[in-house]
């Protein structure tokens, strides 16, 4: 155990810090759940990419920088610590990206990854269907291979697809063997959202914005080279993606540590009012202890990975942990803000309250997306503790 950063790691931190100080947008970007905000974020992502700071852990040839996981954590600490914008293309970059690196052909990696790193291509997920959420093996959308084997014909519907209203591509699971059931006979496809036969219907989220959409496929032709992994092996590939989602990469600790820091500041600024409820101070202390524990766990895991360990079902504890922590912190902020907590962004007296409200609304979804926390608890019990099904 040696908890000192190496000179190389320190230099990298300095470089990222200096670049962010010089390049961070002066005004906060508009919400990426609006067309305008989406394009602002695309521009910011392009800037990061040009500085080779978009996907720091990817190999250089694929638009990354070849950093190790400790350097990635350092990048995230500097990025979120500086209050930089949330990453708009995280579905692609953090979920499909690692999946392609593990399962994609060389041609697919070269075709998709650099454009994903620069956000020229923005990606949406296509997993859930109206009757296949937590029970994902129940999906019915079909992708039938054409007689000449050149393309799939896709029919069906996906839903709860985050940022699909504006995205360019979708990745997800489709039933390619019509006689199959459950997790057999599924294939993992990348589908361009501008293809003929694709219809997108935005769904308004709690905040009234187009945070997600449902997508209808009507005889959509998808070239066979857009299949990731083998025909019928989609479930296997998808499980790897789900692992990335629940595991480390989707939610780096820095993002929550930043929230905890802001919460401590908020509490201090409103302490006289907040202390009328003694449990608020407790919750503020827990924001620090909770996010710090999450960061420590990430470093511990990264150290174990560097020594050749693999993360197993304990990744599911991550998902429960950060989603509940995030919710708790935002609830605490709402309680501190009291009667101002309900104000939205256009209210003249909202000031910082509106940002907390946005975060609060988003945090409500944490225990639901990426596999509900109830499902995660089942996974922990069955696969980590070995309890019977």
């Amino acid at each position: 155990m040696d908890l000192a950063y190496t000179p190389r790691q320190k230099a990298f931190r300095e470089e990222v810090r200096a670049w962010l100080a010089a390049n961070l947008p002066r005004e906060s970007l508009a919400s990426y759940d609006t067309r305008e905000g989406f394009e602002q974020h695309r521009e910011w992502e392009r800037k990061l990419f040009d500085a080779r700071l978009s996907m720091v852990i990817w190999p250089e040839a694929l638009g990354g920088r070849g950093c190790d996981l400790i350097e990635w954590l350092i990048f995230e600490e500097e990025y979120y610590g500086a209050g930089a914008p949330m990453r708009v293309n995280q579905n692609g970059q953090l979920l499909l990206g690692p999946t392609l690196i593990e399962f994609g052909t060389e041609a697919q990696k070269a075709r998709f990854l650099p454009r994903m790193a620069s956000s020229e291509d923005m990606w949406a997920q296509g997993w859930s269907e109206p009757n296949a959420g937590s029970d994902m093996a129940a999906i019915t959308s079909k992708a039938i291979l054409s007689a000449d084997g050149s393309h799939y014909v896709v029919n069906g519907q996906k839903t709860w697809s985050t940022r699909a209203s504006f995205a360019d591509w979708l990745f997800g699971l489709f039933r390619s063997d019509p006689g199959s059931s459950r997790h057999h006979g599924l294939s993992y496809l990348a589908v361009p959202l501008d293809a003929p036969g694709v219809t997108i219907r935005p769904i308004q989220a709690l905040n009234g914005k187009q945070a997600f959409a449902e997508i209808f496929f009507d005889d959509v032709k998808v070239p066979v080279e857009n299949r990731i992994g083998d025909e019928g092996q989609g479930w296997h590939v998808a499980m790897a993606t789900a692992g990335f989602e629940r595991g480390l990469l989707l939610r780096s600790p820095a993002r929550f540590q930043y929230t905890a820091r802001k919460l401590v500041e908020l509490y201090k600024a409103h302490r006289e009012v907040a202390d009328r409820d003694p449990s608020i101070r407790d919750a503020v202390i827990e924001a620090w202890t909770g996010t710090e524990a999450y960061a420590l766990s990430a470093y511990h895991t990264v150290g174990r990975l560097a020594k050749g360990a693999r993360i197993g079902a304990e990744a599911s504890t991550n998902k429960i942990y950060w989603s509940e922590l995030d919710l708790k912190m935002h609830e605490t902020a709402m309680r501190i803000l009291g009667p101002f907590a309900e104000l939205t962004g256009d209210a003249p007296e909202a000031v910082e309250a509106a940002r907390w409200l946005d975060g609060f609304l988003f945090a409500q979804a944490g225990p639901i997306y990426a596999g509900t926390n109830e499902i995660q608890r089942n996974i922990i019990a069955e696969r980590m503790l070995g309890l019977p099904k």
Partner: protein
């Protein structure tokens, strides 16, 4: 940056675990509970033979000179087996205090050698603990009088036993009269010794609580996998699964906090107080949740003397407030993070 243990450290833990599995099996705990002194000279002898009493004694005093990080692993095993012995208090907490005395202090070397060979029991009466654990069987007591540190032979103190729900804890009110003859440190030096001793005591307790949490989880998992109701093992029911998954999650996120605190202590970091308090809080919460959900999934059996769960549960309840209760440790964390200019947020997990 490497936040993992070496293969040697992990192998050491494994060896201690295998040793305690046979030497401190639950049947033996029950036997020792029934004795008057609540301590087994045979167990102490075999702990010493394994070199466990010598762990943190400096090498020039017949010890192994291991640091707090090694103890973070070791104390988890002591908790996991709920050993009915004050090994950690003597070989880690008291040994640390005595080691920190200036070289040349009368009897310093002699005490350390005796700790290493396992021939002395030392009880530590830190002001944060109103009652002194293991005062009765101790040969020597390290006691506080303000900032002063006194080393007082057992014969010179009056002891009133206070029974605990955990029958392997032997607590006592200690009455004594400070005298020049027993004074071994005072003033700034004494204050520093008590401060460091508190951190060691709290870290040691945190490690034990984490080990206890893991043991209660393991016992509960075994129980619910076997116990059948409605024709199925109760461990197949979602409500039962979710209780235990929550315990596993608490444990998972308490572990690295304990390790970080041990490192901070071993390296004398400025923020060590808050790190140790964080560990004590996180491990205490994990142990209490493991006890609460453990008894629930054991059903009425969990409320009996018969099942082993009770021994670990009672230890967890007791240790949670030992070496500083939650209020004490929460205040120390608050002092560190609510102060002006506190180094908080991303990038401060390892750099101060």
């Amino acid at each position: 940056m490497d936040f993992t243990f070496t293969d040697d450290q992990l192998a050491f833990r494994e060896a201690v675990s295998r040793f305690l599995m046979t030497e401190a099996a639950p049947e033996m705990l029950r036997e020792i509970w029934d004795t008057d002194i609540g301590r087994s000279p045979e167990l102490r002898k075999s702990l010493a033979e394994q070199g466990l009493t010598a762990l943190s004694v400096p090498e020039n005093c017949c010890g192994l000179g291991m640091d707090d990080v090694a103890w973070a692993l070791m104390t988890q095993e002591l908790g996991y087996y709920a050993i009915p012995d004050s090994l950690a208090d003597v070989a880690y907490v008291a040994a640390g205090l005595i080691t920190a005395l200036p070289a040349g202090t009368a009897e310093r070397e002699a005490w350390l050698v005796r700790i290493a060979e396992g021939s002395i029991r030392i009880a530590v009466g830190h002001p944060v603990n109103p009652l002194v654990a293991d005062a009765n069987p101790a040969d020597l007591l390290l006691l506080a009088h303000g900032d002063e540190v006194h080393a007082v032979p057992r014969a010179q103190v009056e002891i009133e036993a206070n029974a605990s729900i955990d029958l392997s804890r032997r607590l006592a009110r200690v009455r004594w009269t400070p005298a020049t003859a027993s004074l071994i440190a005072d003033g700034e030096a004494g204050r520093a010794l008590w401060a460091q001793t508190l951190n060691r005591g709290a870290l040691s307790t945190a490690g034990q609580l984490l080990g206890l949490a893991q043991r209660m989880l393991d016992l509960s998992v075994d129980y619910v996998a076997q116990r059948k109701q409605f024709g199925k093992p109760i461990g197949s029911f979602q409500a039962v699964k979710h209780h235990l998954a929550d315990v596993a999650t608490k444990i998972e996120f308490a572990k690295p906090v304990l390790y970080r605190a041990a490192y901070a202590l071993a390296h004398g970091e400025a923020g060590a107080d808050a790190r140790v308090s964080h560990a004590k809080l996180a491990c205490g919460e994990a142990a209490w949740l493991a006890a609460r959900h453990g008894i629930q999934v054991h059903g009425a059996m969990g409320y009996t003397w018969e099942v082993d769960l009770q021994m670990f549960m009672k230890r967890a309840w007791a240790l949670d407030a030992s070496w500083g209760d939650r209020g004490f440790h929460k205040s120390r964390v608050a002092d560190a993070i609510l102060v002006e200019g506190a180094a908080l947020g991303p990038g401060h997990t390892f750099e101060e």
